[in-house]
Symmetry: C2
């Protein structure tokens, strides 16, 4: 039997059955994945960061056709065409927006005026307090183990979640290092009211990541991801030729400018969407090492709930 989350703050806020949120990942989370997660009782998110406005519009329309459950759009606030994205979100009455990489003061009120719930992603308690002050409805606290862009404090989920829970009164969603029901239970033990899961959903049948990238993710082992580009914006990558060039440059003390030059442009698309596993930028979480299969999103949600409930039962028995 699935655990009962009817009193859960995130489920109540977002109108979902289970506090399982699929992270909005560039190049990996379109309408197929988002609608599958929402249809399973969690919350699916479209990753708008890699979408032109017209692509986002089409994705929202398709997602609405595929599910009558709530879904969200993830909006990196530094995106150049952010105004157009916001217009499309308002026009299509997307009920929930996750914002990141920018100030929550700029857009939160305008979205909330239209009845949209706004949830901001942070990697520190200090930023969580700013998001709460800006009126956000909830917080995603994303730890060091998370894939992609990451905070400078390098605070892990184990430490970050209690730190953020102690600093704000709005509900907190834990992210970073969560792929199993046991890890979901751990996050809730830390005080989170829900979990945001990226890597596990990237390795799903419905994700739009390149099949070769998905395969590389599930075949990876411990130590195969690492945080790099500390002098630009820190990002967690799966190790490949490109990673090793960046790592070697950092080791010899390369400047931000030099790193930027090695990085070039459009490498994330090249790696994660086009499947260039050598020269692409492969953003993925540390928890990739625990995965060994590509599953339908509905199975992922079912497994999370099953393993959550059975580990909770074991803890109740005093182990």
């Amino acid at each position: 039997m699935n655990p009962d989350f009817s009193n859960n703050r995130i489920c109540q806020l977002l109108g979902i059955s289970y506090p399982i949120i699929q992270a909005g990942m560039i190049w990996a989370s379109g309408w197929r994945l988002a609608s599958a997660v929402s249809n399973s009782g969690g919350l699916g998110i479209l990753g708008a960061g890699s979408m032109y406005p017209e692509v986002l519009r089409e994705q929202i329309q398709k997602c609405k056709q595929a599910t009558d459950k709530p879904f969200a759009v993830n909006l990196p606030l530094l995106y150049v065409e952010i105004e157009k994205h916001i217009e499309i979100i308002l026009e299509h009455k997307v009920p929930i927006v996750f914002t990141s990489a920018g100030s929550p003061r700029t857009w939160t009120a305008r979205l909330q005026e239209k009845g949209i719930k706004v949830i901001h992603v942070v990697s520190s308690a200090a930023f969580a307090q700013k998001a709460e002050a800006a009126g956000c409805d909830a917080i995603v606290a994303e730890g060091y183990e998370a894939g992609g862009h990451n905070g400078r404090e390098q605070t892990t989920t184990m430490v970050l979640v209690p730190q953020v829970v102690g600093a704000v009164s709005i509900p907190v969603i834990a992210a970073g290092g969560i792929a199993t029901g046991q890890q979901m239970l751990a996050a809730m033990a830390l005080g989170a009211s829900g979990v945001q899961i990226g890597t596990r959903f990237l390795a799903s049948e419905e994700s739009s990541a390149h099949p070769d990238f998905k395969k590389m993710v599930i075949e990876s082992n411990e130590g195969d991801t690492q945080l790099v580009m500390h002098k630009l914006v820190p990002v967690r990558l799966l190790k490949n030729d490109f990673y090793r060039r960046i790592e070697a440059a950092e080791s010899r003390g390369a400047t931000a400018e030099e790193l930027k030059e090695i990085l070039g442009r459009a490498r994330a698309k090249k790696g994660m969407f086009e499947g260039d596993l050598r020269e692409g930028e492969l953003e993925i979480g540390q928890v990739a090492s625990l995965l060994d299969d590509i599953l339908p999103a509905a199975t992922i949600v079912r497994n999370l709930l099953h393993d959550y409930a059975s580990r909770l039962h074991i803890l109740q028995q005093g182990l």
Copy 2:
């Protein structure tokens, strides 16, 4: 009421009431702290890494006078006078030894022949399997957030614990980022059978760390610790003048030799024991940012058990 751990594997293995293990920390954990933790129903550990053989002998004798409960010695296997330490441990029939920083193949059998339980500290599943193959009775899996010396993979507790639990069949003790009952519950949710706690016990009345260092620990904030000395042995330090010199050197690409020169000798003693907060090496876990008081060890154990039980109760209610 305290949770019932009578079926817990670590409690059964070590003959203790609660699966709470106080980490053996150099310059901080002598007989006062170890006996206080053991008397509270957990397991206290003498940190032999900073003790001359005669000091260790005296500490063991005092610990035995102060408690009739089991206690342990933590033995860094690279220690130069390791043979003498082993002799003293055998002579005084210390019931449990925690080993780290070296191969578990060298000493495990010799200690076990005398009825001593041997538990090895690792930071990866690969090393956990080697420790199991060497016959160790249990494993400490120590994540990236832990204070002091740390693994190269930078795997966090959230990811490391399930990885290690999946790789071995002996019981696993989680370490790194654990200072509260909620974090203890999270560690157990991840599959651990117990927790090893350093930073929280360093900031105790009984720890032998310098009072000024304890004060700096409880006043620290998020982002105030960081892993450095990547080209030597990675170590997590509290930021001070010495840290900033190391950090600046690493940023410009300093070699291992240059780092070794800046490090010099005896800096850990200088900082943690003698209270030189500027020039000392201040080893502490990331979870320091969550602490704001120095407590008696017995209160720390009581709080851990209370908060563990109350968070478990909340999870049972579906939050």
